[in-house]
């Protein structure tokens, strides 16, 4: 299915743009974690966590290894039981239901294709467990083979397939039973970068087309941002932030999230004013004032950090009109030329480094700004956020 979209002609825009059940107070959550804790001996993998996932949502659990995201998914599948709390699916309490009786299916990180069965038998395996009539199984398996474009490979054993083909067999196998929820455990981790990017878009197409709920576990922030309707960023068994990819990127709620996703500059200081929908932060050392169009989130006198993405920082050789607000000055310490963009590392008087990303819109013959230049960095009042944790 490489290269070609599964859906016919129309873009997914209308479907994806209108979909936001999490903003609708009347919407019923499909998967619910209620105060779930999971401990392994002394180690708490999931810590008093509550979470709602909605029907037809493509939901991503994102975090570093050991943050509890895999354990969370395995509790939906039934491979782990919560130490305390409840996991509900479609109004039914899943606690105590063994994995083989749950209406969920999982695509494993290792694919877990049965090596002694061919592709056809692998896909038919789950259907046979339900005692489906033979003819129906055959129809369904052929349908799934067509869906992942592997009709010609039905008789092959898993070791006779390439990595991408294995991934598609695993996907077909987990979709064959039409589960209420499809769980994807680092599903694209074993593929090379190019194939991975193609497959991400295919997964979205597939999810919209089948109208299923997908939950994906990944440590790859780009992957989560590409495929998911919402992302839950996890750290040490807790959810730090749940939001759409854009919100997570533009309005991180903590330094942890800001730092985990993308590149970020942090300037530390204290809140000196919160009046009129504008929060003002006085930076330590430089005394620079940061004014952000932000209402709430910080109280007068709080320790806080101004977080701004490098691409939202402008760099200039001449001072701005008002150098006392939303501007700092320093010397160019280093320049990383990445082709499409250049990243300037600017050393402030305090010793801190602030990064600014400049798009290389013209062919670069001579840099207008170069090493050791004294420069000004500026940003707009909507460029960043003030964080208190």
């Amino acid at each position: 299915m490489a290269g070609k979209s599964l859906s016919t002609g129309k873009s997914l825009g209308p479907i994806r743009r209108a979909f936001a059940p999490w903003n609708d107070p009347a919407a019923k959550p499909f998967i619910q974690f209620q105060n779930v804790t999971k401990s392994f001996g002394d180690f708490t993998a999931v810590d008093d966590l509550s979470l709602n996932i909605y029907e037809r949502e493509f939901f991503a659990l994102l975090g570093p290894s050991g943050c509890g995201k895999t354990t969370l998914m395995r509790m939906i599948a039934g491979f782990e039981e919560p130490t305390s709390g409840h996991v509900m699916l479609d109004g039914q309490d899943l606690v105590g239901v063994p994995p083989y009786r749950r209406p969920t299916n999982m695509m494993f990180q290792s694919y877990a294709l049965f090596p002694h069965m061919n592709v056809w038998d692998n896909i038919a395996f789950g259907l046979k467990q339900d005692g489906m009539p033979k003819a129906d199984i055959a129809t369904r398996v052929d349908e799934m083979l067509a869906l992942v474009k592997l009709e010609k490979f039905a008789k092959r054993k898993p070791h006779q397939l390439s990595g991408g083909q294995k991934q598609r067999v695993a996907l077909a196998r987990s979709l064959a039973k039409k589960p209420k929820v499809l769980l994807l455990d680092e599903p694209l981790g074993a593929l090379d970068k190019k194939l991975r990017e193609e497959t991400q878009f295919e997964l979205i197409d597939l999810q919209v087309k089948l109208g299923m709920t997908f939950v994906i576990v990944t440590h790859d922030q780009e992957e989560a941002m590409t495929v998911a309707d919402r992302i839950a960023v996890m750290d040490q068994g807790k959810i730090v932030q749940i939001a759409t990819p854009a919100e997570i990127y533009e309005q991180p709620n903590s330094r942890y999230v800001a730092d985990f996703i993308g590149d970020i500059n942090l300037l530390e200081g204290h809140i000196s004013s919160t009046e009129g929908g504008v929060t003002t932060l006085d930076c330590d050392g430089t005394g620079a004032k940061v004014q952000v169009n932000q209402d709430g989130g910080a109280k007068l006198g709080d320790r806080a950090w101004f977080a701004v993405r490098p691409e939202k920082v402008a760099i200039s050789l001449s001072p701005p009109v008002d150098p006392s607000v939303n501007a700092v000055t320093g010397e160019v310490w280093d320049i990383a030329y990445l082709g499409d963009v250049s990243i300037y590392h600017v050393r402030l008087a305090t010793g801190a480094t602030v990064k600014a990303t400049i798009t290389n819109t013209t062919r670069l013959v001579e840099r207008p700004i170069t090493w050791d230049d004294k420069v000004w960095l500026t940003w707009s009042g909507d460029g960043g956020v003030v964080l208190t944790r």
């Binding site: 994995p99 083989y100 877990a112 049965f114 789950g126 467990q129 006779q160 397939l161 196998r173």
Partner: protein, 273 residues
């Protein structure tokens, strides 16, 4: 340090294998010796093999040995496989340390101790010694070898295969028979073969635990060896070696061919054919 032939490695391998094989080769050669004196070559002859066929005592012992070996190997394989699963999958259960101790101890336990202990058990409970006590003893020590062989396969077994089966609606019991067992089968078969040959070969434990009417081939050979070396024993030893060697060589050729085929298929898959 490149892999491949260096004079040191070639020499040590050659000498090592000569040491391992020369005595066996000589034994086989002298089983075809026409002379009654085992160590004096008197021309080629197969008469000792013919005389074996008329030696009723040896034939009876061989029959007992094979029955004990088949029965004990089969039961030891079942018990040993269960023990391996218990060791690998349910590592922490009450008395788990004692259990793993009892599995590993027979591997190194001097046979005289195991033999004596089992005999005393059978005497203490008043179990008439013979075919059945022999079989029970053989099951007990060979199941531990099976357990170790199967365990080493289970340790590297990808658990997500079983989880995938459960996830697709297959209950645990059925998962074991449709997924786990077929995949660990080579190790189980290897375990059976090991248990079979261990039982076939055993002298010390058998001598302790057997009773009237259940003399095994090794016991028969041992009592004759004590009287002196005869070409007839060379002949029977040669037959035993031939049987075992054929079994092992066939098994390893089958495994190797399968492995080669698998690798070829993987190469083709990577090339995208």
């Amino acid at each position: 340090m490149r892999r491949g032939a260096s004079w040191f490695n070639v020499t040590s391998i050659t000498l090592g294998f000569a040491f391992l094989y020369l005595p066996i080769v000589l034994l086989v050669i002298y089983s075809f010796n026409a002379s009654k004196l085992v160590t004096v070559w008197g021309g080629f002859s197969t008469k000792w093999y013919v005389s074996l066929l008329t030696n009723q005592g040896l034939l009876d012992a061989a029959w007992v040995t094979i029955r004990v070996a088949l029965l004990s190997a089969t039961l030891a394989t079942v018990l040993g496989t269960l023990a391996a699963i218990a060791l690998v999958r349910f590592g922490r259960f009450p008395g788990g340390t004692l259990f793993s101790g009892m599995v590993y101890a027979p591997l190194v336990m001097p046979e005289v101790i195991t033999g004596l202990a089992m005999l005393l058990l059978f005497v203490a409970i008043g179990f008439a010694r013979g075919f059945w006590t022999l079989t029970l003893a053989h099951i007990t020590f060979s199941m531990c070898f099976v357990a170790v062989v199967v365990q080493s396969r289970l340790v590297t077994f990808d658990r997500s295969l079983e989880e995938a089966a459960l996830d697709l609606g297959c209950p645990p019991f059925r998962t074991f028979f449709t997924i786990t067992l077929p995949l660990i089968l080579p190790a189980v078969v290897a375990g059976w073969m090991l248990a079979f040959t261990l039982s076939l070969d055993d002298l010390v434990i058998s001598s302790f635990t057997t009773g009237p009417g259940a003399t095994t081939l090794p016991m028969k050979i041992y009592s004759q060896v004590r009287l002196g070396v005869t070409p007839e024993i060379n002949a029977i030893c040669t037959i035993l070696i031939a049987i075992v060697a054929t079994g092992v060589i066939i098994a390893s050729i089958v495994t190797k061919r399968r492995e080669v085929e698998r690798q070829r298929a993987e190469r083709l898959a990577i090339q995208g054919v």
